[in-house]
Amino acid sequence: MKFTKLVNKFEKLVKKYEKGVSIETEKLTKLQQLLSDKRDRYQASLNTTEDAGKRKKLETKLRVVNAQLEKSKKL
């Protein structure tokens, strides 16, 4: 049992080391990129949609993506 705990601790340390700061930044950058792409897609759809119902939905989605982007930048 004790040995298992020791191995777990070791694994945790290795994992932290492996992740490193650069990977943390890298994954956030990738996420922000995904969100930016999505925001652009929604914006493009919004520019071409005239249906009021669809526009309302797209605007909500856009606000959500913007909020997520903002939040990711604070991390």
Binding site: E11, K27, L31, L34, L35, T60, V64, V65, K71, S72
Partner: protein, 600 residues
């Protein structure tokens, strides 16, 4: 293996039969049309559930004597106990009457059918309801195109009856070829063996001709021609009574287990009555003579005496069996049990997985998805939709607006057997594996347990929603119906989206997790819209205050279910190996942020 070869074997046998015998083809087509009629009939009666017919049937069949009377009167009018039996089977399958009431109706039908013997004996005629088959079909189909639920239902009932008669007609036509092979004189045997033999012949003849009345005419002709003795004639009548149950048995093939139980009751009643009549044939002959003497029937007027006999032995059967109705019902429930709902078993949790933290988490996550799948099905049926409808309908909103089929099932039982069992297994597995886990993994396990708990909560909420959702889905008030359909749509749409995001390999998990926030915001906007709409339609007296409060209460269930489902999906889509998805989890918006984003 047997199941796999059963269907092809049946198809091959049928094809061979069609090839070698046109009569067989006609009989098989008759049976198929008959069963098709049964389905129509059942659907038709379902349209009246929750309304007038249910109340009327409940009031007219709530006591044994009432259901007996119902059977007597309806069979006397329709002149066919088989038809009353199959209609009762469809009543029972649609949940309109109880098994005991259904058995009462069947017993009554057996007395009612004796009026036919009197008609045949006195006037040599019988009401030929089958002549109405074609008009019934035409009117039925015309009505089934109408918008009103009740007209549609009435149309399905009429068309169902039309198909039943058409089916019986084809069966009769098909069997016509065998009719002439009955040479009764050549079979004359004395004593009890003769009685049993002629009873069997009577049953076979009725199966062939699909009418006990027709058998009765055959008996009278044979009696008049002295082809058979009076006793043999009585045995034939007993057999005809047993043979008439075959229509009900065929009818029950497409019915649920309650319908099958009723057909069983019909068969048991007629067989028991037949056995009693044969066992006490001398006493019956004596009683017939006494009654005939009292009412002035001549000793050699066998036609009328046969009618007296038919009435007497059916009355005796009812008198003997009525005190045993409840026992008969219990026996049938015991011998024809509902298909037992197998308890769900965890698919991924096993002791081998416990040793390694990564495998524990993987097994747990897969098991929670398994729980989600079970819950998905129950929730779908809970809002009266099929799982496939939710997953494949090209226009889900339209499907929900048009689909008014009520899914009859025991939600409590399914909750116990499919959801609670899995949830318990998950909780047990977590408590067993916690000792092997580091704090990081424990945190992840806690998240998964929370997700499983939320799935369970969702099923409970849908259980609360189901009653009103079903009632108002069938309502003629389009405003309340539309609002409840919106609630049904919200649940269905979320289930569908989760399924899509989970299964789509092209969608990044990080994006899938964050897309749930968009759905949450959409729901939040819908909430604001609902408040405005409900206030408006209540002010304009389009819905009652009771409807409004039900709607607002139920919306809370739907709202909470939606959030739980989306939170669960977000928790399940996170992966330790997908670091971007893990980062996405940190970007997921909280309630305030969602509210802010959803505000226009």
């Amino acid at each position: 293996m047997l199941k796999r070869i059963l269907l092809p074997s049946i198809l091959i046998i049928l094809s061979y039969g069609f090839w070698v015998s046109p009569d067989f083809k006609e009989i098989a087509a008759g049976v198929s049309i008959f069963l098709f009629g049964m389905l129509f009939l059942e659907e038709g009666f379902k349209a009246f559930t929750g309304g007038m017919l249910e109340k009327l049937l409940q009031k007219t069949t709530d006591k044994t004597w009432k259901s007996l009377l119902f059977g007597v009167v309806s069979t006397s009018i329709m002149q066919s106990s088989s038809l009353v039996s199959v209609i009762t089977i469809s009543f029972i399958s649609a949940g309109l009457v109880s098994l005991v009431a259904g058995i009462g109706i069947i017993f009554g039908a057996n007395i009612g059918t004796t009026t036919g013997a009197w008609l045949v004996a006195a006037f040599g005629l019988k009401v030929k309801i089958s002549a109405y088959a074609m008009p019934m079909l035409v009117f039925g189909i015309v009505l089934s195109f109408q918008k009103s639920r009740y007209l549609k239902g009435a149309g399905a009932v009429l068309a169902g009856l039309g198909f039943l008669f058409l089916g019986i007609h084809y069966m009769k036509e098909g069997f016509e070829a065998f009719k002439d092979s009955f040479d009764l004189a050549s079979l004359a045997v004395g004593g009890y063996p003769g009685l049993f033999l002629f009873a069997a012949i009577g049953a076979a003849a009725t199966v062939v001709m699909q009418s006990s009345h027709a058998t009765l005419v055959l008996i009278l002709t044979a009696l008049a021609a002295s082809q058979i003795t009076y006793e043999n004639g009585l045995a034939l009548a007993i057999g005809a009574n047993v043979g008439t149950t075959i229509t009900a048995i065929i009818g029950s093939l497409s019915a649920n287990v309650q319908g099958k139980r009723l057909a069983g009751a019909h068969l048991i009643f007629n067989v028991v009555t037949g056995v009693i009549a044969i066992a006490f044939i001398s006493q019956f002959i004596w009683a017939v003579d006494i009654v005939s003497g009292k009412v002035g029937i001549a000793a050699d007027n066998y036609t009328m005496k046969l009618a007296v006999f038919h009435t007497l032995f059916n009355l005796t059967g009812v008198l003997v069996m009525v005190p045993l109705i409840q026992r008969l019902a219990d026996l049938l429930v015991k011998s024809l049990p509902e298909k037992s709902k197998d308890l769900a078993e965890p698919l991924y949790l096993n002791d081998a997985a416990i040793e390694f933290p990564e495998t524990v988490l993987k097994a747990l996550k897969m098991e929670v998805w398994n729980l989600f799948d079970s819950a998905f099905e129950i929730m779908a049926h809970g809002i009266n939709l099929h799982r496939t409808e939710i997953l494949t309908s090209p226009d889900l909103e339209k499907t929900i607006d048009n689909d008014r089929e009520v899914h009859e099932f025991d939600m409590d039982e399914l909750y116990e057997s499919k959801v609670k069992v899995l949830y318990s297994a998950i909780v047990h597995f977590i408590s067993n594996s916690q000792a092997h886990m580091s704090s990081d993994f424990s945190e992840e396990m806690f998240r998964l347990r929370k997700a499983a708990g939320e799935i369970v909560e969702c099923v409970k909420h849908i259980k609360h929603l189901r009653k009103n959702a079903t009632r108002y889905m069938l309502s003629d008030n389009e405003h309340i119906r539309d609002e409840y359909n919106r609630l049904r749509y919200q649940i269905a749409m979320i289930l569908r989206e989760i399924y899509r995001l989970r299964g789509d390999k092209d969608i990044d998990h990080a994006i899938a997790i964050l897309e749930m926030d968009e759905l949450k915001a959409e729901i939040q906007s819908a909430h604001a819209g609902l408040d405005v709409r409900v206030t408006g339609i209540l002010r304009d007296d389009r819905i009652t205050p009771t409807m409004a409060t039900s709607l607002l209460n139920d919306f809370n269930y739907v709202d909470e279910t939606s959030r739980h489902l989306l939170d669960t999906a977000q928790a399940l889509l996170v992966s330790h190996t997908d670091l971007v998805a893990e980062a996405a989890q940190e970007v997921v918006l909280d309630e305030d942020e969602i509210e802010k984003a959803s505000a226009a």
